[in-house]
Symmetry: C2
């Protein structure tokens, strides 16, 4: 009888995997079409391409919300009642159920309406930003806010209207858990930034010289190859905005852009996107094209991109190994620039207006402003009309700089013009915090890691991250991962200690 | 009342277009995934990619055979009974009906079985060809032949079992129409080849020097830009085997490969694939993603690739304009090589073993051998076991050369290992014949075309081809197109006259 039962169980479970694989393959196909759109597609391909991507996404959504999938999950949950809850199979069912319940709550009409609205908003924004024209996007943002609130209302019972939107990207996190963390972080950062600004500014003129594109490209790829990025399972191409995209366990690609008059942009964007890719490539191969086969949250993803970009890639030890190589590639630009000058240049802290150009320390203040604005807009304690003014005031308060126009203020980020208001930004700073916490845990387990980094060796760190974080995919939520690794909740202290140690040394604080 | 009827008609007709667009978009998405697979995909992406492409093709097939589409066509045919049969709308319904009837006759099981079999055959062939191992593929070819016969039997009532397979690629053509044409062509070619071979051989050593890749690439792209290939609606990338692929009316791409020790390969493959692309890009934009939105047949497609590659691109007049430019790019290689030597080199006729490397004259003999073998195998007058021996004998008879092994004989072409036996080859020679006939018609309409080509101008020819052939897409079959253009059937004479004139001059016959 046992055999009969097992066969039966297996077949129901395998039906789940078959269905999930189809959804995943349709989404991956859409991702290939999007990648091509950003990398190689000639302009004439745009209209049909948008339609083709929309069709694939619609077919994936239909399958993800198929009532037959719900019935299958009902049956499976009964059959799996006594399975080990920590088994992959139980996790698969749990995550599949979560995705299904989330998907069916959002009516197809709403999905289509929201997609059409953001597609239009994005088009208008691409014109409005260079034209510094907030009035052009204001009614669109008002509609986005209304749609974002409607989205939240598909998940009644929330404490804060941002919570369902945060759950989209950082499941398990809420305004109630994030706000105190961010308040504490701001209280720590403000005096740190003030102390740094009071010191002589770092000289980063060495970065602003002519650096030929091909040499920049090759150097970045050399480093990520050392990191362990496998070019048999990925590649790097050029796009306007860098990104990482996963097509399968054997194909996770990154992109970058190169400025020949500034060497730090392509290099650190390559390290950043490679961090995302190392995460995806490290997921257990048997999770591929299943509900578990992706990184678990925006926060954990960003923890890896920022760990490999900043914690590793901007550390002094790292450049003790790589700087002589970089000097050899760019002898006229860097031959006479001492290591310390270079390390200070790539870690220069300076309050500024643009998030994506911000340094490691002030970056979080940009994020916190946006998170607070999202909460205020959703709560109704702020209006879209007030947004440009609020933005200016918060920048003046937090960073001591005030944007002279909306182009360099509220219009700078694509997020609110390509997606909802809510849940869009917290992942970036959660990522910094988690990077600090994970790196500290890795160092406790393997105190030799910094010395290895100083020799251009990353195996111990990479293996530790893969075993403790990457391979689990979506099996554990952010909080569960942190609990498994540190035995406790998300904590700020390791990140604070990291920043204090690093910037005290750099700025003689 | 008229309004009511029209609205109603329109809505049924538009439902047809909606359904056709979905099938087309799924096939285009599969084509993007295939293009990426050949151009940029890292090796690790292969297993998931095959599955993703198969899923998209399966979804397209399901939609193309949906019984609801059949009912819709029934309704539309009644409603459209009095529409102008030459209208686009009537053609759309006619071609949609043809595609539907064709698709529903082939059981889904058979489609899957055939796809799995050819995928396996192809894998085995990639090993067997370099290993010169016909026995490894023999049982697979026997199965391919059996499946090809089963395919034919889904279309009972044929005169010859190759006819349903030929209809796949060259609708309206049959063994009964092709055989006499090919017999006549062979009777013409055999003495021509003998006469050429009796003359001193052309010296093509100038082509076999070192030609840097980037310069070859740029020169080929310059020429096709002059042809009218629009890089806003296409691009060229590198692949192992050159091809053209259509994703939409605004995105038809080509690929090529470059040998630095032989300048004629990349260049003429670029001109060849550009010919295919000019055809697709010239189709009426309103046909995009409809049943009419592709080239009408393998023969007409090949007529365009070979017209732009050979009739135009290997003509003396063409090189009167371009040769000084080519010499300027490659002064050490060609600076001292006279124009006549170069033109004779790129038109060198020499019986050889490999079809894809054959010259314009002997090429057709390679094709006719394969066509006759396909017919014989399907008829049962030859067996797979006999194939290597038959191949050798036919090469000795037709071309006076005999392959020393199967690698350079029966194993050389991918076709029988990636598709059916039957219908695979006739299009190449039909294309040559049609190129001759179409070019003669264009010259009758515009006698200035050769003079324009000698000045690097192609507008008159391109416009004539677009108006008379390209824009119609699949609205007319091959025979209907020829009838519209020449007022008669497919004729060999213009192609024979073209070959006689060109090669008499080149070889002083």
């Amino acid at each position: 009888m046992g055999v009969g039962v097992n066969t039966n169980l297996k077949s129901t479970y395998e039906e789940l995997l078959d269905r999930a694989r189809e959804v995943s393959d349709l989404n991956s196909a859409a991702a290939v079409l999007s990648w091509d759109q950003s990398t190689y597609m000639p302009p004439g391909g745009a209209p049909a391409r948008a339609r083709q991507i929309a069709l694939l996404q619609q077919l994936a959504h239909q399958r993800a919300t198929d009532p037959a999938l719900g019935h299958l999950l009902d049956r499976l949950e009964q059959e799996a009642a006594d399975w080990d809850p920590d088994s992959d199979q139980a996790a698969m069912i749990r995550v599949a159920r979560h995705d299904y319940e989330r998907a069916v709550r959002i009516p197809s009409d709403f999905v289509a309406e929201f997609a059409a609205h953001t597609s239009h908003s994005y088009q208008v924004w691409t014109q409005a930003r260079p034209a510094n024209d907030f009035t052009a996007v204001r009614p669109l943002l008002e509609r986005t806010l209304e749609l974002s609130r409607r989205y939240a209302d598909f998940f009644p019972g929330y404490d804060h209207p941002a919570d369902p939107l945060i759950a989209e990207t950082d499941l398990g996190m809420t305004v109630a858990t994030i706000r105190p963390l961010f308040a504490e972080l701001r209280a720590f950062l403000t005096p740190l930034v003030q102390a740094i600004v009071a010191r002589p500014a770092a000289d980063d003129s060495c970065l602003h010289q002519h650096y030929p594109e091909a040499d920049q490209w090759a150097f970045g790829e050399k480093i990520i190859r050392d990191y362990g990025y496998d070019f048999n399972r990925g590649r790097q191409d050029k796009t306007h905005h860098p990104f990482m995209t996963r097509f399968s366990a054997g194909d996770c690609r990154i992109t970058t852009r190169v400025y020949e008059d500034y060497v730090a942009s392509a290099l650190f964007s390559t390290l950043h996107e490679a961090g995302h890719a190392l995460y995806e490539l490290g997921i257990a191969p048997e999770y591929d094209a299943t509900p578990l086969g992706h990184g678990t949250s925006a926060g954990v993803h960003e923890s890896q991109s920022r760990l490999w970009e900043n914690v590793v890639g901007r550390s002094r030890g790292f450049w003790e190994h790589y700087y002589p190589q970089l000097q050899a590639v760019f002898p006229t630009q860097l031959g006479n620039v001492p290591l310390d000058t270079f390390v200070r240049a790539i870690n220069k802290v300076k309050p500024s207006l643009i998030r994506v150009e911000a340094d490691e320390v002030t970056y979080n203040l940009h994020v916190i402003i946006r998170f607070e604005l999202e909460c205020a807009l959703l709560e109704g304690s702020a209006t879209i009309e007030q947004l440009p003014q609020l933005w200016r005031r918060m920048y003046a308060d937090s960073l001591g700089v005030e944007p002279p126009d909306d182009r360099n203020g509220v219009l700078q980020d694509v997020h609110w013009f390509a997606g909802p208001i809510g849940g869009s930004f917290q992942g970036y700073t959660l990522g910094n915090i988690l990077a600090g916490q994970f790196y500290a845990a890795a160092l406790t387990a393997h105190p030799t890691i910094p010395a290895e980094i100083s020799r251009g060796r990353f195996d111990t760190l990479h293996t530790w991250l893969r075993e403790n974080i990457y391979r689990h995919g979506r099996k554990y939520t952010t909080a569960q991962l942190v609990e498994r690794i540190t035995g406790g909740p998300i904590r700020l202290a390791p990140y604070q200690e990291y920043l204090t140690r690093k910037y005290s040394a750099l700025y003689d604080l």
